[in-house]
Amino acid sequence: MIEARSLCKSFQDKKRGTIRAVDHVSFTCQPGQIYGLLGANGAGKTTTLRLLATILEPTDGTAILCGHDVIDEPEKVRANVGFLSTATALYPRLTAQEMVEYFGRLNGLDEPTLKKRLDAIFDRLDMNSFRDRRCDKLSTGMKQKTSIARTLVHDPPIMIFDEPTLGLDIMTARTITAFIRECRDAGKTVIFSTHIMSEVEKLCDTIGIIQSGKLLTEGTLEQLRAQHGEHDLEEIFVRVVAPHYVSEGTN
């Protein structure tokens, strides 16, 4: 379970002064459900997810993941989280197996457990053919699978995906969306960010729309449709975001 409590994150910029990238964001994600964070570029999605994954530290407010506070116990939080984004690359000089092993060991798995989990994951994701190939020699699809294996090796109860399908072709993107569903079916708490409406419609149990660092509205797809009297998610999104939208150039 994820509980964001009035999360805030501001950055200092020489030209623009203080930027509030995340501004008092609160929400709850339940186990066995997918929470979708929908927003335009620069809306604050990535920063929010980085705060949850304790890659960044909040300037105010906090979040509790599996009972651990992101400020007080960041290492324990990370041990319960699998984090995947387009920015989380693989080590080019390690093989796929070494990459996954490294993260298993960092997560405190002992060698027999690690070996068992590794075999299971590599079989499950059909990765045995390129197990010993270096990551810089892998195709995009193979890299994506290795990344998935890396996030899964310690069997975390929480999965965080930051625009996981960005820049991928349809076939690879589908592997990812299928994987996200599997995580939910396995009872994990899943949160992911995107700006692709169709992904949200297909996957999410709860949708949160974020703009300028603020969570503007939240609910199931049905609730949002009823609330705004629109069927099309894109129309709903535009209606919610328009009053707050400042194009990136003028910001």
Partner: protein, 404 residues
Amino acid sequence: MSLHSIGIVYRKELTEALRDRRTLISTIIVPLLLFPVMIVGFASVASTLVDKAKEESPKVMILGGDDSPAVLGEVKKIEKIDIVPPTSDWKDQIVNKEVRAVVDIPHGFDSAIAQQQQETVKIYTYEGELKSGIAAGRIEKHLDEYRDTVVKDRLAAKNLPAAVLKPFEVKQQNVAPPEKVGGAAIGGLIGYMVILLCFTGAMYPAMDLTAGEKERGTMETILSSPVSRSDLVLGKFSLVLSASLATAALSVISMGVSFWAAQRFNALNFGNPNDPNTLHIQIGLSAVLSVFLMAIPIAVLFSAALLTISLFAKTYKEAQSYLTPMTFVVVIPAVAAMLPGVDLTPKLALVPILSVSLLCKELVASTYHWHYISIIFASTCVYAAAALFIAIKMFQRESVLFRS
């Protein structure tokens, strides 16, 4: 802090470093090849060039002397010079290296000498040019001998003994043991090399493990793992330190082997050890070990500092542009220690790098000033600890890790 996670990070970084060509070249290949090539190669090339120049008979021109057959005859007797007829453009010929030296015998030289007047023979040369120097040296040596015979004849004519002109002799004699003589001569060089290679050995891994990680997009990946940031930086630091020490160790070993081989095959013209005029280099194992021991805190200092600086960079290239000027910061104090007359003082013992470089000079000469050794070791350890502390602090800062 957990040694276990530091070890996991270290092992992974080691695996990657051993697969990185740039790191391998700077840590293993360069130190192993540098010294043999430098010492044996350079020395043997230089000595063959010098030998060849000595074998040749340089062209020499004589101006004047038509009325002074005695001195002219002496000049013509000089071995291994090739006398060419005088021309008016002799200056240009020297500059163009067509003639190596010109002997100018003043008018009426012989008769002036006979009347016991002082005269000057001029030798025109191309200063700093090897063959010109050899030619002038041969001429000067022979004319010196001729002058001595003139003096002897004059003394004999007046029935005076030769000792009238030389009432006593002055002679230098070395009493320092050979290893101390060698130490003074190349001790500074060894310290300088070890310090510089500690630095270059740490440079590539430091960039690869920080800026390289940002550039390849793996920084966010590793930060999402449960390893604490201080364990992460300590693991990375240990690898950089290993690379730095490995470079220094390999270079010292390769330097030792090269010197041994050079002496053995006489490539350096060291001559035989009983000849007091040749440099006899002897460096004890204990001296080398103590230099290496002093290199440890300086390697810690370099590793931590390089890690911190390159962490600011977003790309490998940017890191390179930060670290290249750093090389001068290291080279200048290291070279300063090689200057003659720069010796350890209590103040200099507190200057990082320079102090270690000066100490290495003494250690190689088997001089152990224990109070300096302890001051320098302790002060370098303090600087190293401060640098490591800053590195750990920088790894906690989002503005550094995610600089955009």
